[in-house]
Symmetry: C2
Subunit: 455 residues, 2 copies
């Protein structure tokens, strides 16, 4: 029996299994860990491996039987998979992947060092190698890279009865076969015939009469466009064709779900400058990846410092400015990042384009102005009471309002500009934005103060 | 013919359609807009509406025929949908939703004001109302709220031949029917029988012989747990049962894809304090939503200012401190947010728990220490050259190292602590973290300076 029944049961089960596994690991009862692992679904094992620090990961990996290694690898996230693959022999990789679907094998092969790739390919059967070659000839993030090549195709002129008898002879009907692909003599894709229609249709009717004509997804289409098509049309599977309309393979919805997950995570990680970092990546790998981001931020921080440096005399005369200036810069950063997030998302979804860019900028600037007005008043009042200085209160309010409007404007313009030059706004947008809000925040506040407050 | 064929073709098509629509809107040729809309897929219209500022949105919405309104509503994101529903008559809502699947109707109904909900429910047919009531009795974000009630169920003791004949008489076979649900006399769920197996199996075989026994998803299971089950097991559809194992309905993978999308977006928006903001929400709505976040950040910014305020004398004596202090605080914020992102993601995926929390804290602190050492050296050297002051260089390096280690530690501890108290770390984590890194950054840098640099 499958154990999907009760929430508490499932959650407790998996929690129990996890803490049990952990205790067994600590007490070094590897035999019992091994027993538990054989009862787990490959996806659960993959999940478990992702939770483990590097050392334990390798220990557990050693306990998984070779015939399940492939399934587990297919469910692992890229970073963890590469780490484990580094320590596997080509022969072992070939053995582990031999029963997987072509797209999963392709994913794994692409994570291998080049020399090892060839060895693995050579140790495969002829048919599998040819299939794999067709998937590998397309980049990983295109329809061609996502597709499976094990497709059942039929001709338009046969009857449903013939199709049914043919299906009974097919040894392994691919998973999630909701449609059969209809092709002509040249393997040109014509359309799909649903399994349900074969079942309930007149056995003497021809495939051509019942099939739904359509033209398939181009193998060059990017993975995110494929995801969009699946989402908009609620598809379970779709045919993949080359430029001449020849049927190459089939994409199923489970691969699309992975694409959606990965894109979402990519966006979150990119904004934090994390790259493909996993929770228990080796310390030096993590340090190196994050150092780049810290370095870039340090450079921009010095830019802000240089602006402050120009007002050293002003600060000397009125130290309250040093106390308050981070507030002006910080509020700009927060307001700007809200607009930035909206704009980045709009770009990712294809919702933001030339036709509505101006409308977004106007709207965001208006929001910036309103929030600027409101919080400027609040800050002014607080500062007047704190420092007993009306002019200082007025000036911080004015500076904050200016910075919030600039922030909203920059939060909309920066990602659109980056996107036009082919730079991922999720990666570079945040740094650029805080540079702007810091510089403008310090400059307006200290500048206004030097003009009106000190002599 | 479906138009999925070529990437360029598809992209250009949709871009062309969009800019064409935009131009027509500007030139007020509403008749031609209306023509274009009838050719578009409801999902594309929904997409288009999401790109439009509020006013144009209402104008376009008025051009969509009532029989397509339901499909478009089903594809819209919540915020935009609620906005449009506000201006619809209950009768119109009832009419628009009458051909939708139960789960889509339930989603829409839940967005209506309470009084209107009842009117819509009353204007429905008896059967639809009962079905809907069963979905509405579960929260939106559970298996029960996601399910459809139009399920084909069969008994275990009939033959495949009987099933096939029965299916031929069913008027509307629900979309994405890959399995039929097998139940007993009391409607207790027993397992699933795939359509393929009915097609290729011996017509005289019984359903019970060929079905796959399983126990279905509990209606109480949270939507994110449902998504996990679908992802791990690569499901297309799954049965939903109540606490007694009685079959209630069916969840299909397209609903799960929506859940995954929404969760991913929720995470990104929460971190920016955006709530359910859409790109063209009315200006006042956006201002109000974001104001809350700005207010919270202002309060924490004043906390940082208060810390600086305690060192006014020190700054007066050495203004370079004011110039450099934002660098120390800022670098801590960046390093901390990297750890925070990793930890929040680990918690969301259920990867981070008691058994590996300590390991993560140690790893992150080590990364913080290494990056702290490295960047402390860089900063020290730059500062020594800039201000010609060795002690100042030493002190900023030391302060930065301390702040980066604290940041890494706080980035791991804060989300775990918030999660324990049931607070979403994606919402509150960022503010808390920057408060810590600001306060610690200012305190160590200015504190060390007041001890060792000034008299």
């Amino acid at each position: 029996m499958n154990d999907l029944t009760q929430q508490d049961a499932t959650q407790n089960n998996s929690l129990d299994t996890l803490s049990q596994l952990h205790e067994l690991l600590v007490s070094k009862s590897l035999d019992r860990v091994s027993d538990l692992l054989t009862e787990m679904h490959p996806a659960e094992i993959a999940d478990f491996l992702e939770c483990l620090p590097g050392k334990s990961r390798k220990k557990i990996w050693g306990l998984i039987s070779v015939d399940r290694e492939g399934d587990v690898l297919a469910h692992l996230q890229d970073a963890v998979r590469s780490e484990l693959l580094e320590h596997m022999q080509p022969q072992e990789v070939a053995e582990a992947t031999k029963d997987l679907e072509t797209d999963d094998v392709a994913d794994i092969i692409q994570d291998l060092p080049e020399g090892v790739q060839d060895t693995v390919l050579l140790s495969m059967g002829e048919q599998n190698r040819l299939r794999l070659a067709s998937v590998l000839s397309y980049p990983e993030d295109t329809a061609g890279g996502l597709m499976n090549t094990d497709v059942i195709s039929i001709r338009a002129d046969v009857t449903l009865d013939v199709v049914t008898r043919y299906l009974r002879r097919v040894e392994n009907i691919p998973e999630k076969t909701d449609n059969l692909m209809v092709v002509d003599r040249e393997n040109q894709y014509l359309g799909a015939l649903s399994v349900i229609d074969i079942l309930i249709g007149d056995p003497e009717a021809s495939v051509g009469e019942l099939m739904k004509e359509e033209s398939g997804i181009s193998a060059d289409l990017s993975a995110s466009e494929v995801a969009k098509v699946f989402e908009q049309r609620d598809l379970v599977s779709a045919a993949v064709v080359n430029g001449n309309g020849i049927l190459l393979g089939r994409i199923t919805v489970d691969d699309v779900v992975d694409v959606i997950q990965e894109e979402a995570e990519h966006a979150v990680r990119s904004m934090a400058g994390l790259g493909d970092d996993d929770m228990f990546a080796p310390i030096f790998t993590s340090t190196k990846r994050r150092a780049v981001w810290l370095g870039i931020n340090l450079a921009t921080a010095f830019l802000g410092a240089a602006v402050i440096g120009r007002f050293e005399d002003t600060i000397q005369q009125l130290v309250a400015l040093a106390v308050l200036m981070p507030i002006v810069a910080g509020m700009g950063g927060v307001a700007g990042s809200q607009t930035l997030t909206i704009a980045i998302r709009g770009i990712a979804l294809g919702h933001l384009n030339k036709s509505n860019a101006m409308a977004l900028m106007l709207k965001e600037s208006a929001v910036g102005l309103l929030n600027g007005l409101m919080w400027a008043c609040v800050v002014s009042v607080i500062v007047v009471f704190w420092f007993d200085d009306t002019s200082l209160g007025f000036i911080i309010g004015l500076a904050m309002m200016i910075n919030l409007i600039v922030a909203a404007f920059a939060g909309a313009v920066i990602p659109m500009g980056l996107n036009r030059y082919g730079i991922d706004p999720a990666i570079a947008g945040g740094v650029l934005l805080t540079t702007v809000t810091d510089v403008v925040g310090f400059m307006t506040f200290l500048g206004l103060a030097s003009l009106f407050l000190v002599s």
